[in-house]
């Protein structure tokens, strides 16, 4: 793992990988989005609104997956002191927050015609809203630190502790009565008909690749800023 602690080694991989992830993600997301709008039948109960699934589920996946990645980066930073872990955490926070917010907004748009309400203070929606506030808190703590491009130990611990919300979000529809449907996709299979399900894999893959590209872009920007600052300090010291 420490092979990639050298930013130059990391950049030699990240530079060619970024456009491939971005273009591949864009292509898959467009294909999945188009298939979800045009090539799948409407649901027998929900009608056309079921198509919101193709953007809502990837947003939820990336909102939660983003925080899981933040927590892992926090562990790697605290245990192994890997120099890129803090940079990765800083890079992940913004897109994670954006997709978390998208999950809440698209879920609300889905809820109005399906449940008759934009919002309900039930376990799933409330715990997802808590995740959004956790992201805002992480960004505030990360920006308050003095670390060059990285994040403080406090921010890393905050990311690890905040991960307790992830199983709560996941199990909320099982533990409490909720307007939100129960788990539709589990390790044992899916309750969604395959005629409706298949474009979801395309949008899930596409948005995940795009998320990866965004994180790499943001990491590259942070590393470039660190290198500029270090060079300017060296020049000033002469």
């Amino acid at each position: 793992m420490h092979i990639y602690a050298n930013p130059l080694k990391f950049l030699s991989i990240a530079r060619p990988l970024t456009p491939w992830l971005a273009l591949g993600g864009l292509l898959l997301a467009i294909l999945g989005g188009y298939a979800g709008l045009e090539l799948t039948p409407p649901d027998y109960l929900q009608g056309e609104t079921v198509r919101i699934l193709y953007v809502h589920v990837p947003a939820a996946w990336l909102g939660m997956g983003g925080w899981l990645a933040l927590a892992i980066a926090g562990i790697v930073q605290l245990v192994w002191r890997h120099p890129l872990a803090g940079i990765a955490a800083r890079a992940i926070a913004l897109p994670g927050m954006v997709f978390c917010a998208l999950c809440l907004v698209t879920g609300s748009i889905w809820g109005r015609p399906t449940w008759g309400t934009w919002w309900e203070w039930d376990g799933r929606m409330t715990s997802m809203l808590v995740l959004l506030f956790l992201y805002l808190g992480f960004i505030a703590i990360a920006n308050a630190g003095e670390e060059r491009g990285s994040v403080s130990k406090v921010a890393a611990i905050y990311a690890i502790v905040g991960a307790i919300n992830l199983p709560i979000i996941n199990r909320s529809v099982v533990w409490w009565n909720s307007l939100h449907q129960g788990p539709s996709i589990t390790l044992s299979g899916s309750t969604i008909d395959s005629a409706i399900l298949w474009p979801l894999w395309l949008t899930l893959g596409g948005f995940s690749l795009l998320f990866g590209a965004i994180v790499l872009m943001r990491m590259r920007a942070i590393i470039a800023d660190i290198r500029s600052e270090a060079r300017l300090k060296r020049l000033a010291a002469r």
Binding site: I52, M217, R227, S228, R231
Partner: protein, 44 residues
């Protein structure tokens, strides 16, 4: 059904705008930072 499509269009539209915004901003920030870094490296 057309009424339902307004909700679908709103969800898709917001997702597209937000994704383009965060991707575009990240790309622009990266390019600007790397150009700045290249400029600084060229200084003596």
């Amino acid at each position: 059904m057309s009424g339902q499509f307004a909700f679908v269009a709103a969800a898709y539209g917001l997702t597209i705008v937000a994704t383009i915004a965060v991707t575009g901003w990240s790309w622009w920030t990266m390019r600007a930072a790397e150009r700045r870094s290249d400029d600084v490296r060229g200084r003596k």
